[in-house]
Amino acid sequence: MSSTTAQSGLARARRGVAPGGSGTAPGKRKSKLSAQATRTFFWLLLPSMVLLVLIHGYPLIYAAVQATHDGDLLQTGNFVGVQNFSTVLTSPAFWKAAQFTLWFTIVGVFGSWLVGLGLALLLRTKIPAGNTFKVLLLLPWVVPIVVSSTAWNWLVATPDSLIPALFRNLGLGTPLFLADPTLASITVMAFKVWVSFPFMMMMISAALASVDTTVYEAASMDGASRWQQFTQITLPLIARSTYISWILMTIFCVNDFPTIYLLTGGGPVNATTSLVVLAYRTVFQDFATGPGVAIAFLMTMTLVVISVILYRQIRKSSVE
């Protein structure tokens, strides 16, 4: 580049003119670029927007139509307003399912978080074959749910299954893990924790990996105990990941169909029927599409509210 060209380029740059440009005033140029950019962005976004509308918008609108009609999967039926919602909200089965969903979610989220946190902390220490353990611990998350639910069924279903037989041999009676309503609820929740803890472990492991170890060294020098280091350093530093994992796991738990349906089918006598199982059974077994979709709508609204609350918590933790 010659010195003349370089000076000209610098001058143009100071005026905000691109090489080869006409030298229009910066403000006018900016608005022209902005209009062009807007058009470009629009055309670039259009395919995604069309896809989003097709994938999310159409089913949502279709579901809204079904929730306000008394039809079935083939025919829309008559408009009934919010009758399906009032039917659902006055049904004891709905509230029983809501109660189970709440417990299932609480145990699923915090149970898997606690196990995942414990294992993530354990794997952070230098233990022999740590990486092998990491891979093995991922298996519950990786194995198809149909396979793991079948395995759990064979472990606990009959009085002669492995776990009840073990209890019997230990003189603890013969617990009917899937036949007793309370035990069935506990078993399903334990299964959920077992399936989900690897996800939590991964999330927390990733968060822990980003924590600078010198912080702990400094804390040790200041005389902080291990417990103080855990509560005052580790937990705050992984708070953002923790909240995100809670939100995701809450959504996974509330929407979880196969874990429950494959293990107990929602029984015995509805003891393990969650809202999503109830919605499925209402639509596909009772062929009552309107009330079933109304249940799904109520679930979605609840999930959005919970997610927003937890999201605020994330922002709060970020500010702090």
């Binding site: 899937l178 924590v211 530093l237 939100i247 959504i251 009772d286 959005v304």
Partner: protein, 441 residues
Amino acid sequence: MNASSEPRRSFSRRGFLGLTAAAASVPLLAACGGGSASQGGGGGAAGTVKFWDMPWATPAYNDAAKSIAEGFSGASGSKASYQIIQWNNFYQTFSSAIASKTGPAVSTGGGFQAFQFEQQGQIAYADKVIDKLKANGQFDDFLPGVLDPFKSDKGYVAVPWQLDMRVFWYRKSLFEKANVALPTDWPSLLEAGKALKKVGAFGFTTGAGAGNNYANHSMIMMMVNNGGGVFNKDGELDLLNDRNVEAMEFVLELVSNGIVDPAAVSYTTDNMSAQWKDGKAGYGLFQVNVPQRVGDTSGDLLVADPIKGPHGDKATIVFPNNIMMYTNTPSQDASEEFLVYYLGQLKQLWQKKLMSALPVFKSITEMPEFADDPNNVKIVKDWQPIAKTFASQGSKLNANLAALDGGQALNQFSQTIITGKADAKTALQTFQSGLESVLKK
């Protein structure tokens, strides 16, 4: 470094809410996602009859059925294509395909599916098929009473092709070990159950776990066996009749005596089969071909005699599975021609011993491949004549039966009874209320 010094990630409120809404909308999508259902496949060309079939038995069955279907060659040069439809969400699969005009011309399916689609004007009546069967002699080959439930005011809604019969089975060695005679009536069933319990076996084997309808069928069977049923002769809901109450009080007596396995409420069909195979099940209601199903062909598992209720009634229940035709077809004549052809070829399926159900044609029941099994012969001779449908005491099948079979009300009722959680009248009252809320008037 502290919590606040953690690098701030690109995580906007809008982006987050979008992600959350997308994830949270899963149940909605799951509940209404008709558009994603299988559209079926193969051979939608003009002149090709699309035949959809279910996995009625092992994959070998579907291979054989496909071979039969694809062997069809109509008079006008029409052909047939074959598509397997999985049982999971099958009604949704059929519904969405039919709604989008990509459904089958002919299909098997749920026992009451034809009546559901008939209500929606999607079924082509089979009267001309029946006429053709009369002409070729196959009509007279039907076992007694199997065709009648499909005749509606407007015509034949479907044509039966196999009977999914519920019969009592027993393990001979357990009865010998317990030194007790086979039940012939309810009191002797109770006595046999008590004797079997002493040798560690159960005298009323059933299951009500995930996807298992045998407890449902056992409950309805006991009602029907006592002259009761879910409906009265006019087809109206009639669960609280005295016969039903009496039948359920008897089942509760079996439960309280430990004759029903307390874990049965959670048994899947695989768990139940394992109980039969492991010698824990002494007696109970099951399907055809139990030895093959549970993997014990030693000859120790045998079909029992029908038992008499306290008022002398003898009955069991049967699900007449059927083939239906749809109005959306490249040619109604071709659909009818295909159906007549397919019914004429059914014997191959029993010849190859691929079926776990009874045939609807007498000629098939007389084939050596079928009649060589004494259990089959006993079912045809002793059980088929007393078999009634889910519509009992009514006689006509209808769309409402789909919501009864496998519906929440019946599942909950069966589980309540076999766990002994309520008395008979209370359980029946709850059952009736549950059904009333889902049955269409």
